[in-house]
Symmetry: C2
Subunit: 456 residues, 2 copies
């Protein structure tokens, strides 16, 4: 554990930034992922500048203190959970948009900038920052980069990595480095920018981000397509692929999710179908693309919303800023597997079979254009431990099944703390060892978010 003297030294060197108040320690102890064991940090540091971050890491190196970086704490894998003897480094106050360059089509931001704020600022220039996790109204660009966040639009526009050009990073010993380039293309040296992206705070602290912006589409078309069953809607996803049309957004909601929406909003979605596909096309070809998609889906027997339907737009917006779930805990866990597109229908059927076999409840939404599924399994709290065990079994089986079908344990949320037990199911000992060596090259003392992201 850290001595009081060490904390005092830190507080003296970063006046006003260091809190040890019980409320802060509790509030910053966890993100939105399942908590297996509650651990409070020793302190919370709210950095206001790059120098603050450097000072903190210099201190942490001297005292051998683990540092957990944190954006908005919206993560779903426990990547920002406090660990034994750690301090939390919050980047939320470093939230300046440093530069928007409408001609270069780039922006430079501090890590604490909220995704939606950046998008609002660049929209004035006819631009957008494409990666839009459903948490875009509160998650930070720094957190998005650290998790390589996906989102709805990434079916067409790619994930966070595809929009990050350059990073300023404070290394474990407090050294500030710059990776990447301000240009769209660049291949000088190893791609450390891509390596940092998705490293979940284990290789360095991201303190500055240069992103590439995309053109805000002037035309947009939105379709809502109801199908009888969940597998039928999954087949609809394949039909769109066969038509070789690339939607910007392609989201799949199962019947249970429709029921939940009806419950929350008084709608009658579930009555209208057993599953829903939400599709958005954008750009100069939006209308033609929407027509091609409509034709493909009607051919499968779907009931597709009218051209210009306001409801379809409203449903996409609803989906765009909610996971549709409550916070996860030990009775309710949201998953994030991805499978090759050809396995979507099969996986969805397997999920339903699993849920009934283990007597757990199941709800699924999916970024279906990418084969990325978010099944949520839950059990009644009142049933106690035995129900938790059933939940764990269903979770393990759902992950194992995704891997058997050629998939991955995490499409976008990251391994964090919660999914480390599954990582060796996906990756060979040699890959785990290589990753440990990369970690060692960046963070020889192992003070950056230990116990997260990789297994060593």
């Amino acid at each position: 554990m850290i001595s009081n003297a060490a904390i005092d030294e830190l507080a003296a060197s970063l006046p006003g930034r260091v809190s040890t108040s019980p409320v802060d320690l509790t509030d910053y102890s966890r993100d939105q992922g399942p908590v297996v064991q509650t651990i409070l940090p020793s302190a919370v540091i709210r950095a206001q500048s790059v120098e603050d971050v450097q000072a903190l890491l210099g201190w942490a190196t001297r005292h051998g203190v683990p540092v957990v970086s944190r954006g908005a704490g919206s993560g779903l894998s426990g990547g920002a959970h406090a660990t034994t003897g750690s301090v939390i480094l919050s980047l939320e106050l470093m939230n300046r948009i440093v530069e928007i360059n409408p001609v270069d089509e780039t922006a430079v931001v501090e890590p604490g900038v909220i995704n939606a704020d950046l998008n609002a600022a660049v929209a004035e220039h006819g631009l957008m920052y494409a990666p839009d996790p459903a948490s875009y109204r509160w998650s930070t660009i720094g957190g998005n980069v650290a998790t390589n966040a996906g989102g709805l639009r990434c079916a067409k526009y790619g994930v966070t990595r595809d929009s990050v050009l350059a990073l300023d990073v404070v290394l474990a010993d407090g050294t500030l480095v710059s990776t990447g380039h301000r240009t769209f293309k660049g291949v000088a040296g190893y791609d450390l920018t891509a390596l940092m992206t998705g490293s979940e705070g284990t290789l360095g602290v991201i303190v500055g981000i240069t992103v590439r912006l995309r053109y805000l589409p002037r035309a947009v078309r939105t379709l809502a397509a109801f199908f009888d069953s969940f597998p039928a809607a999954a087949a609809g996803v394949l039909a769109i692929g066969r038509a070789r049309v690339q939607p910007a957004i392609l989201e799949l909601l199962d019947g249970r999710t429709l029921e939940a929406l009806d419950g929350a909003h008084g709608s009658d979605l579930r009555q209208r179908g057993g599953s829903l596909l939400l599709i958005r096309t954008d750009g100069f070809g939006a209308a033609a693309e929407a027509e091609a998609i409509r034709a493909a889906l009607v051919g499968l027997g779907a009931s597709v919303s009218d051209e210009g339907s306001e409801e379809a737009d409203r449903l996409v917006d609803l989906r765009r800023h909610s996971r549709g779930d409550e916070v996860d805990d030990l009775y309710r866990v949201g998953e994030d597997v991805a499978v090759p597109k050809s396995q979507l229908v099969r996986y969805v059927a397997e999920l339903e079979a699993m849920a009934s076999r283990h007597d757990v409840r199941l709800k699924v939404v999916a970024h279906a254009g990418d084969g990325n599924l978010h099944p949520t399994f839950w059990v009644d709290r009142s049933e106690g431990e035995r129900a938790q065990e059933r939940l764990e079994e269903a979770l393990d089986e759902s992950v194992r099944c995704a891997l058997d079908l050629g998939g991955t344990i995490t499409g976008e949320h990251g391994v964090g703390q919660y999914k480390r037990r599954w990582l060796p199911w996906e990756q060979s000992p040699e890959i785990l060892e290589l990753q440990a060596r990369v970690k060692q090259a960046f963070d020889p003392l192992g003070i950056l978010n230990p116990g997260k992201a990789i297994v060593s």
Copy 2:
């Protein structure tokens, strides 16, 4: 140097794969980049399987022999040049397309598959492999991945990294590992796939590649726009950006390049303008996008080809499979800088001033949509060493200027051997040191393509 006994041991373990014939040693001693000093390899190994590659690397580890991987040898930075005491590992015979999955929209290939062959094979399924370096008719997918190759279509579809999902890699000690995932998205562990991409044979030998395919656009529109001057055409690039239209291809050719084309093909391009923009739009919005672009360029005084012009298509095809240059040597060097888009006009003007200041000749083509320029500087061979010095001065100055404008020393060709002298101009000592540590983590004995890609 390697002993004859060691070579004999290798030849015995890989019968029929190992050549020490003078013709092979010469043919495989270099790629298309400038040769500063000719060095012959000790042997050329043409691997036919993953096991061959593993056996070679096991041997190289035991004997401490440097291994230079090689695809088609079309590289422009000397990345595949032989170095002292090295052997060349050619992957050209490992050229099987292992799998095409039209539903998953993926393909699995061996490293020696030619880019154009993969594209021909997937076109039958309405798909394309997007990254298309102008060398696509002879460069290999393995070489494309090892250099993170760009190309013409990457203005819209991204570079090689954006299309690579998973890699099979033989590490320095002969261990085979698999990185990445077959799904479009995946964030389990560090992004070793992206780290390998662009590592120029210094971190491992790529022996299998899973790529993501894109939809072959059904509609395509092509425009050729002649401008009075090179800076005017560069301004045209910015006008297309301001119109917020994303072309698939946006290539810029200067007057000297037009003269060279006229000389080779008997055309009259140079008469029609001092510079040419070639633009292709594709997809459902192709026609509307082309119209928006035409309007923007006509507004600048450009003379734009008619709708459906066959000449425009022919010119793009010409550009698509030629660099328009001869092989580089010490009297003629092609560059590959990139600058932020806003600096295009200024950089182009600076280049012209530099060429006349140093009395060297200059020709420029550019993947202008990405700000990636290929100036070629040359001097008369007959002028001898003094002219070479002038050439070097102009080259150094052009690189320094690109960096001053916020650019990079290499947009797509890689650092290889030739550009290492410029790498410390772009990257800080700390970044160079980090890269050396990553290299050390992968290749502790330093046998993989030493003296390339990074500086340590």
